[in-house]
């Protein structure tokens, strides 16, 4: 990966993160212009979420918008861009007048596995809550399929399909 495309990636992530913020800020007719993010990435404005739009910067993100019900198999998608493994800290982008934004991305196995905010915009007084909402302090990442073996698996209840229960029970026994 050359420096240019790395910048493009990191810049793109910042644009994405600022998407939700811009949505809110636009109601105050102050659209922040993040420095150094001239990359033509379209920010998917998911209502203030700092989520990564599927298929834009993260080839491993599972499920397109509304595609929860479809049976596309995640994990076998081939990344259209091959990222180099490592942790990358983005440039400090401006979110004037509310401060600065900076992200850190982790690439593992050629795929983006984590995004975290190193700096987030802070607003004075009453705007704090709004800012906190647009930029949750909680950590977000795109899910990625793990190939490690584990002792057990946690998932939502399977309590209606007798056939399936019986099958999983049989499989669990077959594994032991």
């Amino acid at each position: 990966m050359n420096n240019g495309s790395k910048k493009l990636l990191i810049g793109g992530v910042i644009v994405v993160l600022l998407g939700g913020y811009a949505l809110w800020a636009s109601t105050r007719s102050t659209t922040p212009a993040p420095a150094g993010t001239t990359a033509a990435t379209t920010a998917d404005q998911t209502g203030g979420q700092t989520s990564v739009p599927s298929g834009t910067t993260n080839p491993n993100t599972i499920g397109q918008d509304g595609g929860v019900g479809d049976s596309s198999t995640p994990g076998d998608s081939t990344p259209s861009t091959q990222y180099k493994d490592g942790t990358y800290t983005g440039i400090v982008g401006s979110a004037a007048p509310y401060g600065q934004v900076q992200v850190k991305v982790t690439i593992s196995g050629g795929k983006m596995t984590a995004i975290s905010l190193l700096k987030k915009p802070e607003g004075p007084g009453e705007t704090n809550e709004v800012t906190a909402r647009a930029f949750p302090i909680l950590i977000q990442e795109a899910i990625s399929v793990q190939n490690e073996s584990v002792h057990t698996v946690s998932g939502a209840t399977q309590d209606s399909d007798g056939f399936r229960q019986s099958l999983s029970s049989a499989l669990a026994q077959a594994q032991s």
């Binding site: 979420q49 599972i62 499920g63 584990v150 946690s154 939502a156 209840t157 309590d159 026994q173």
Partner: protein, 293 residues
């Protein structure tokens, strides 16, 4: 030569100590694994018969269960009220009291009383997001019985002298001690978009793990405060709590809260969560990282 022999004996003993079995009880696969030198071979049998006894009492699918009898009574009462009018506001009293006082002749088992009280407590602690009362006036405590039963099963194992075990029932988990070979128990978080895969590996370190989600049966949990809310933003939330009962009751409520669920868990001391939205983006509480190694 001596050390080789010693090793062989030792590994044989390690192998013999490991007992693992899965059975379908309470309408779901339940797996119990015990790794202990002193554990009696009957220990698994004891745990499985406990789960069976819980099923006999709490299964809403069995007409003969205690909960079915309570619901039969509640249904009669509700249809009677439709004709005669309700004597008082249904929500005026805590639900457990409402059930207990609905018929003085109905004798509740102490387990039923405990579960209904737990449900009531959880409803209050979650601002009404956890609610076992259904629209037709009947109750379905399944959302809490599983975690409660696993927790009690863990107590049975501890009481029998086991110190290294893992109990998994329908995706909710309680571990204790270490896995085979002294390893930390590891738990995969199921991929809500492909249930044959996992998307995260966590090490609960003896805490309880429960996942609530909508991928197995469509939206099987609804928002009790807004029935039209289909909860489609979040597809799964995995909660780590002090034990599996705590994790289970808060996972159910957190899932019903949608996007706010993970913030709710963040606000609870000793609880952490990993929620996955429909875009495949996960949000985790700040201390969730403590369970990644």
């Amino acid at each position: 030569m001596v050390s080789d022999n010693h090793f062989r004996q030792h590994s044989h003993r390690l192998k013999a100590k490991r007992m693992k079995e899965t059975r379908a009880i309470m309408g779901m696969p339940i797996t119990v694994e015990v790794i202990d030198e002193h554990a009696s071979p009957n220990i698994l049998e004891e745990v499985f018969s406990y789960f069976t006894s819980v099923d006999e009492k709490f299964s809403t699918y069995k007409d003969t269960s205690e909960i079915s009898k309570i619901n039969e009574h509640l249904r009669e009462k509700s249809s009677l009220e439709k004709v005669l009018g309700s004597p008082r506001k249904a929500s005026a009293r805590p639900f457990s009291q409402e059930v207990f006082h609905s018929d003085p002749e109905v004798n509740f088992s102490s387990e039923m009383q405990e579960v209904l009280e737990l449900a009531e407590k959880t409803k209050q602690e979650t601002g009404g997001y956890f609610n076992i009362k259904k629209q037709d006036g009947t109750v379905d405590p399944s959302g809490i019985v599983k975690g409660w039963a696993i927790n009690n099963a863990a107590d049975i194992l501890l009481h029998c002298g086991a110190s290294n075990f893992c109990i998994e029932a329908g995706g909710d988990i309680q571990t204790h001690g270490n896995a085979a070979g002294g390893a930390e128990w590891s738990v995969g978080i199921r991929n809500p978009f492909n249930t044959n895969e996992i998307v995260k590996v966590i090490y609960p370190h003896g805490k309880g793990v429960a996942t609530s989600g909508s991928y197995e049966r469509g939206n099987h949990i609804y928002n009790p405060l807004n029935n039209t809310d289909t909860l489609e933003d979040i597809v799964s939330i995995t909660v780590i709590g002090p034990n599996v009962l705590e994790a289970d009751r808060f996972a159910t409520a957190a899932f019903a809260m949608g996007k706010e669920g993970v913030n709710f868990i963040e606000s609870l001391p000793q609880f952490d969560a990993y929620s996955i939205d429909k875009f495949g983006v996960a949000t985790m509480t700040r201390n969730f990282k403590n369970y990644l190694q």
